[in-house]
Symmetry: C2
Amino acid sequence: MDYKKTANLFKALADENRLQIMEILKDGEKCACKLLEALQISQPTLSHHMKILCDAELVSGRKEGKWMYYSLSKAGIKNAKTYLKELKISEGK
Amino acid sequence: MDYKKTANLFKALADENRLQIMEILKDGEKCACKLLEALQISQPTLSHHMKILCDAELVSGRKEGKWMYYSLSKAGIKNAKTYLKELKISEGK
DNA sequence: ACAACATATTGACAGATTTCAATATATCAA
DNA sequence: TTGATATATTGAAATCTGTCAATATGTTGT
């Protein structure tokens, strides 16, 4: 198991603003400008958070003209689910 | 949804040493001294990590004489699973 | 009570993370 | 091409986190 990669994945989920972004994206693809409206953070800060979420494959981005559209990505979410699924509680002594 | 609590939960999983601890505990309850042997960290650092894992309810501790036994706890793991499960990818526009 | 041991707490430091202002890059419209 | 707009990057400051040495607390055996 790759501890570094897994830690990075959970790090991406370990921030209140990023959780709120994920929450908004549950509703479907959104433009960066919409996310900026919803959060009380500056534009560079949003851009930084989006990079972290994209790097973790929790979110994917699509550029259309001068706009960036973001949506949830299955890959990262699946990785996290898989990790948790493997946390079986054994009765080993 | 409680962003702070959820962020804390994922923060607890966002560290390589703590992931390794979880990995070891998958095998069943372990004494703190065993964890200390397995990890390349000092005793106070281990104690600090265990507190974070316990606070997130990912691990529970049991004191027996002068020893502490730790094991995986269902509550935190379930909370994380539930969060991920709710990350449904909708087609809403 | 005292010594030995296991774990927890405190205090300090280094490195990581979040944040914003300033600036850069890219796209569109006139 | 120029100006306006959307997003990304850079650089710096404040805060948070992981770490260890030193010390405290709690337990067991003598």
